[in-house]
């Protein structure tokens, strides 16, 4: 029997202790009209070897590297993950432990998450970061709810260049709150149009994404200034964490809350989840933060140790007045991100991010040479939007047949950009890959 260690003798002995004849009678307190007496309609069990075959067949049908060259980012990025990280993440003391409510036997997880909090905060230039959220979208939704709590105002403004799926999540989260969500349009050069803020009052927060969904880098300093004139909180979100290995971080541009997706930091894409919601802010907002926090302390003998702290914000204590309902978060993903940041290091992350930037710039130039138009002239990081020459849909299909996914067509999300495509180049797409794409587009 898989994973069920009881022998007949074990069961007989235990049933005797409990004073019951058979396993079915254990449920005698359940009224007859509640009992299900049939068999579950599920497939018969597979052996481990049959399961291997079954899953391999499913996995094999999916379009992934190295057979497919996927030039898509849009919130999910292909990056190299060193073997050391996959190996370390398989240590079952990390994998099979629970939330560290008993800190004395969870110091491994607790120190590791404290380290993650520190490195994540440093990456985005803020003072403190939480222990993790589900993904960039929910981290952004929680940040806006936090701003509403802190300022006691009921209106937020969000850029239309925040990832479209993130904006849908915000709408869903805000629907029952009665708070207003305004959207800010965008300018010809592919960045947020903040002019409309002049007419808006009583704002709890203004949120932009940088690099934004078009890959363009926003002028955070200028936007921040306008937001603070309105006495609102400046929320900066991101989908590509690696960008801050190279670019000015949001903390240095006066962000109040920084939130985003950490999947790029050593976590595989896995068809969109699990990811890593990063949320960081200033110490002064500490008690309003949603999510778990690990803090440093000492034990009875004065040795350094770590504990979950400020738990009175959380659901298990504060219940309906909690800063969030989050319980299980994405701890193992935060651990992976910390391992990644530790492995790539301060010197390494800069070089890696620079390579992303340079490769994307190369593809941009080559595609322009092949007759494409780069849609927005703002600086970008590793994603950008192009307009293919006419007949785009046919080109895209032809490229798919050649096992090249030429970016994400934008028509679905921005109807005004019907022939435009969002392309992403990371360190995993070589010059050869890019040249092949350009050749196909040009022909």
């Amino acid at each position: 029997m898989p994973y069920l260690p009881h022998t007949r003798e074990d069961m007989a002995s235990m049933l005797k202790t409990v004073g019951v004849d058979n396993l079915d009678h254990l449920f005698s307190t359940i009224p007859e009209d509640c009992r299900f007496n049939g068999d579950l309609n599920l497939p018969e069990p597979l052996t481990e070897w049959e399961l291997n075959d079954h899953m391999a067949a499913l996995a094999h049908s999916v379009g992934v590297s190295p057979e497919y060259k996927v030039f898509m980012g849009a919130g999910s990025y292909e990056h190299f993950v060193p073997a050391s990280i996959s190996y370390l993440l398989s240590r079952s003391e990390f994998v099979t432990s629970y939330t560290p409510y008993q800190p004395e036997m969870s110091q491994g997880t607790l120190q590791a998450i404290y380290e993650y909090q520190t490195l994540a905060a440093r990456l985005v230039g803020m003072e403190i970061a939480t222990a993790s959220h589900y993904d960039g979208a929910t981290a952004l939704a929680e940040s806006l709810l936090m701003a509403v709590r802190v300022t006691k105002r009921r209106r937020v403004a969000i850029s239309s260049l925040i990832h479209p799926l993130y904006r849908r999540v915000i709408q869903t989260y805000f629907e029952p709150t009665g708070c207003e969500v305004e959207e800010l349009g965008y300018l010809e050069n592919g960045v947020t149009d903040v002019a409309a803020l002049d007419e808006m009052d009583d704002l709890a927060a203004v949120a932009v994404q940088s690099p934004n969904f078009f890959g363009c880098i926003e002028n955070l300093q200028a936007i921040g200034k306008k937001v603070h004139e309105k006495e609102a909180l400046f929320v900066v979100s991101f989908t590509e964490a690696l960008a801050y290995g190279l670019l000015k971080n949001p903390g240095s541009q006066d962000a109040d809350i920084v939130c985003g997706e950490g999947q790029s930091l050593g976590i595989p894409r896995s068809f969109g989840g699990p990811g890593l919601g990063i949320l960081a802010s200033h110490k002064k907002y500490m008690r309003s933060l949603p999510g778990r926090l690990v803090g440093q302390t000492t034990d009875l003998e004065g040795k350094r140790g770590f504990v979950l702290t400020l738990a009175t914000r959380e659901q298990h204590i504060r219940r309906e007045k909690a800063t969030s309902n989050i319980c299980t978060n994405n701890s193992l993903c935060a651990l992976a991100a910390a391992m990644y940041m530790a492995s790539v290091g301060g010197s390494g992350i800069r070089e890696l991010a620079r390579l992303n930037y340079d490769r994307a710039e190369y593809l941009k130039h080559e595609l322009e040479g092949a007759g494409c138009k780069v849609s927005f002239d703002s600086p970008t990081f590793n994603e950008f939007v192009v307009e293919f020459p006419t007949g785009f849909a046919a080109t895209y299909e032809r490229l798919l047949e050649k096992r090249i996914v030429a970016g994400l067509p934008l028509a679905r999300y921005y109807p005004e950009l019907a022939n435009h495509c969002l392309l992403c180049v990371t360190e995993t797409r070589s010059k050869d890959d890019m040249d092949a794409l350009v050749r196909e587009v040009a022909s």
Binding site: R287, A311, T312, I317, R318, K321
Partner: protein, 136 residues
């Protein structure tokens, strides 16, 4: 962490006590308010006290502060209604004052009472002790 027996509690005579363990002491025209020995003992080590703004007004029985220990939160209700004249800002750096000196340095707020007869609705230390004994 071991809690006190009822006989070990300190409930001074010159103070009045509310049902949920806030205390009020008349000091000339003002009323000083805090949390009594039973409450601080039950809560354990206090880690954070959230106090209202000076100038805010509350009715008798309205929530005006919260007190946090490591594992619990306690809402505090104003025993005597009125306007907040002063708050004990020392509690920001040293919340443990509520444990060490609940009737002295651990005070919460000074109130300008809107109705001094509110004091008469509160319990004496004898009545408070009786209530605690009855509840046990």
């Amino acid at each position: 962490m071991v809690m006190k027996e009822i006989s070990e509690l300190n409930l001074p005579d010159d103070i009045r006590y509310a049902n949920d363990h806030e205390w009020a002491r008349l000091e000339g025209d003002k009323v000083r308010v805090g949390l009594d020995d039973y409450a601080q003992d039950q809560l354990g080590d206090i880690v954070f006290v959230e106090l209202p703004q000076v100038g805010a007004t509350f009715k008798q029985g309205e929530e005006f502060a919260t007190v946090e220990s490591v594992k619990a939160v306690c809402e505090c209700y104003l025993p005597v209604g009125g306007k907040i004249l002063a708050v004990n800002s020392a509690l920001e750096e040293s919340p443990e004052l509520v444990n060490k000196s609940p009737y002295g340095d651990g005070w919460f707020v000074e109130v300008d009472p809107s109705d001094r007869s509110d004091m008469d609705t509160l319990m004496t230390s004898v009545a408070c002790l009786e209530k605690l004994k009855g509840a046990d």
